[in-house]
Amino acid sequence: MTNHVIDLKNTDCALIIGSNAAENHPITMKWLTKAREERGAKIIHVDPRFTRTSAVADIYAPLRSGTDIPFIGGMIKYVLDNELYHRDYVAYYTNASFLVAEGYDFHDGLFSGYDPEKRQYDSSSWDYQKDAAGNPIRDMTLQHPRCVLQLMKKHYERYDIDTVCKVTGCPKDKYMEVLKTYCATGAPNKVGTIMYAMGTTQHTVGSQNVRAYAILQLLLGNVGRPGGGVNALRGENNVQGATDMALLFHIIPGYINSPMNTAAHKDLQAFLATETPSSGFKVNTPKWVVSLLKAWWGDSATRDNDFAYHYLPKRDASKNYSHIAMFEAMYEGKVDGLFIMGSNPVVGGPNANKEQAAMSKLKWLVSVDLWLNESAEFWSYKAWERPVKNPNVPQLKPTDIETEVFFLPAAGVYEKEGTASNTGRWMQYRWKGAEPVGESKPDLWIIDQIAKRVKKLYENSTLPQDEPIKNLTWGYGHGDEPEVELVGLEINGYYVDSGKPVESFANLRDDGSTTSGCWVYCGCMTTKPNGELDYKPKWRDNTDNSKTGLGLYSNWAWAWPLNRRIVYNRCSVQPDGVTPWPGDEDRVLIKWDPIAGAWVGDDVCDFNKTLAPDAPGGTNPFIMKPDGVGGLFATTTGMKDGPFPEHYEPWESPFKNVFSSQQNNPCIKIWEPDKQGTSDKYPIIGTTYRVVEHWQTGALTRNLPWLAELMPNMFVEMSEELARLKGIKNGQKVIVSTTRGDIEAVACVTKRIKPMVVNGKEVHQIGMVWHFGFKGYAVGDPANRLTPHVGDANTMIPEYKAWLCDVRRA
């Protein structure tokens, strides 16, 4: 989240799209309810299905799954046509005024630079016009035909209200209500928030869906201000932390691109030259990278050996290492072993039939979990039971599987100490509440033991290729239990000479004198006057430090970066740095104090603390961007699939794309072209989701009887109309099929899903929870046996949310 959960109380309007916040983030509703009561805020819910969030929303607008870009694109057009955008904000704080290079073009669904052979863009033409000094040329009147605002206007010309309603299936009156209500937050004294989750991202255009939200928010002046923001509601209590620590393959900790086996990354100098932009806060990349290498390899990382840059594994530039790719490689027998911690691919992986089969080709598998979940027992008879025989689905027996499976019992969240970073970027310490049960151990203990034992195996090696392991720093105490604070110290970073924590990432150096395991977390630990470590995630001061009651609670836990509760907060005040937005005095987070010569306020400024508003760059709030402003237009390195979000149909769709002749996102990688279902055989749109009663793959909740009681079996929700058409009665067992497999589920026939009219044709959508598997008290078939192996062009996130299927009585 750019903002944080409590900040939702400051909003004037919440647009919840691609999220079922009331069910999956129940606490958000507490603050939205407050906003409604105290500010008269409106809640809008846009979703294919009427959910418990819709039930408490002021406006519910249905849309066909996979049509977020038309829905938001139409809003962008409405804002531009009716000049509802926040004029000053847009002119100063976004790239609306920047002139785009003449080479940039868009025609029939394709941007300039597309190579159909490689299925990728040469994005060099997606750039600004620059003056002789290399600075982008701006037109502050926003009238130049090549300025971003005018190009955007042209791009979204096709997204008129009638076309949008025709494609999304949203009734026009509902859409108009959303337009009028939400776009009113473009007024300088109004702020709206967009809350989204996996309903947005799990599409072949997932990243562009989020881009569309960001563009709308920037146009309405809703970013960097209390009650606003682009707010990803994180689906797991520490997924924010996991992402920051580089859970993903393409980054190393702190969102730095991971090195590849290319000439551009051949040594540290080359890597830093490639990855460091010439302007913006990322010019500090060398300090972050060198401090990271020092954290990992300590004394073995010296200036003479490139700070051990050669120890870092380099990924093959031609390969993709994301979830789908990993399981495809496993399916081909290219992977020997797999560690699964806090994951359950037999239930949660896309095309779960294939992923389960892929696991059978492993030599070994280590499962670390609280329970023997479905993945730990993927080899059992039960794991291969299917409701119908399908020649495409492998049928194995335990005797067919040679994978050796190890199970390590893990401690639960209340049985261990450590920090978790919540959806609002708050790093919170959690103390142990109970001792682990039986032989179960905290994850940290397990990793610590493995690392220590692996290092022991290499301790006498003289081979250069073993140095990365041999020389790896691993000092979290000498006892059986690793010390959490020492891990915290490594993440934060310390001065090499004194061992004392570095106070801020501003103090990190690229000369080897500092370390930092993840620069964005630098500053989470300092030294108290008495010499003790002050680990800020342990802060528990429950008072709101905001003088205007904004609910910042800055002394409760610690938020990265540098305890900034609302990022880009330079935007909460006018470009002059001192005047609040008209009528919005109470929502100023920081302002310029000319006497002190510094930015002051209740929040920690997300800006150069001493950079005056009238100094060069003094009105550039988006400090991480090379140009310092919000990117309405994504330039060269921004996105793989275009500078503006453009609608493409989901990989499986019953409809032709009406916006262009490009049916699907032209940059996606298609793993299994033969598995693309067509609407003649599979006429129904399927989607998956979660409910409040269960969590993720259900390993945790389906083993708790009280939660199993609340949602005991796998079910599929469908409209009364579809049920009638298919002769299905409520509560009956049904079979849902796609080209990937079939599942059995209980029909939940409901008034909350309606057939839609799309392009003049009636279409049905069905939805199912993906929590179920064959273990635990609450059991059922995993919905992911149906979902495809196709992902977003930028992130490869699987398209869980829109695919074709059919349903019949069991």
């Binding site: 069910e23 509703m29 009887p705 009280w706 949602m711 509560g731």
Partner: protein, 269 residues
Amino acid sequence: MAKMGNLYDATKCTACRGCQVACKNWNQLPAVIEPFKGNYQTHESTNANTFTIVKFFEYDDVYGPKWYFCKHQCMHCEYPACVDVCPRKALYKNEWGAVLKDYQKCVGCQYCVYACPFEIPKYHKESDMVTKCTLCAERVEAGGIPACAKTCPTGALQFGERQELLAIARERVKYLRANGFPNATIYGEHELGGLNKLYILGDVPEKYGLPSEPKVSSITTFWQNIVQPWFGLLIPLALAGSAASFFTTRFLKARREQQEGGATHGTHN
């Protein structure tokens, strides 16, 4: 001690059912796992091991679908019929409004089950006793609040002095009526002479599965006024007593089933 109670605001409830789990947790009640029957509401009503339940009601109107949620549990009536009919005086009302039960005295006769106008108390076969919500009296008397109100994430459930809650409810209903809920109403202020579980409803009570005019049945009144004063005399006549009880129970049950057959449960599709 002033009268205490819960205020449940149905317009703020998101049906997360945290209250149901918190109730089971505090009261250490076992899970009652029944198969999914095509509805999020897993049980028809409260049962002997489920003291509170959130009911789900689906409606359709010109504006689109509506989904109402309503938490059901013992209403802790000001004039509880269950207390009136209890032959052993096992049920009683405490000074701050909770309807409680002395488990030592309960003989499992189930008269309370059939007398309750909200059909809340349920017979627990294993212990041969009737069970229901206690308003977490032991928590309240130790300075706490009921487990359900404690866990509610959205602020839909509050606990406090009944008079104060009523004042909050009146304000809220006024606001709701002016903001898209013309039928918004308070439930429990006057019903059956007042309930210690107060409701803010966004629509008419029937749409939340609550009787708009709850009544204590005439059979119960008859029992209370005629039979019960003579109950002590009936005890020596054990055989006759059992026969009478058998008859009355069956009669009440038949009557209840008849009533239920006519009622529409919005949860069924």
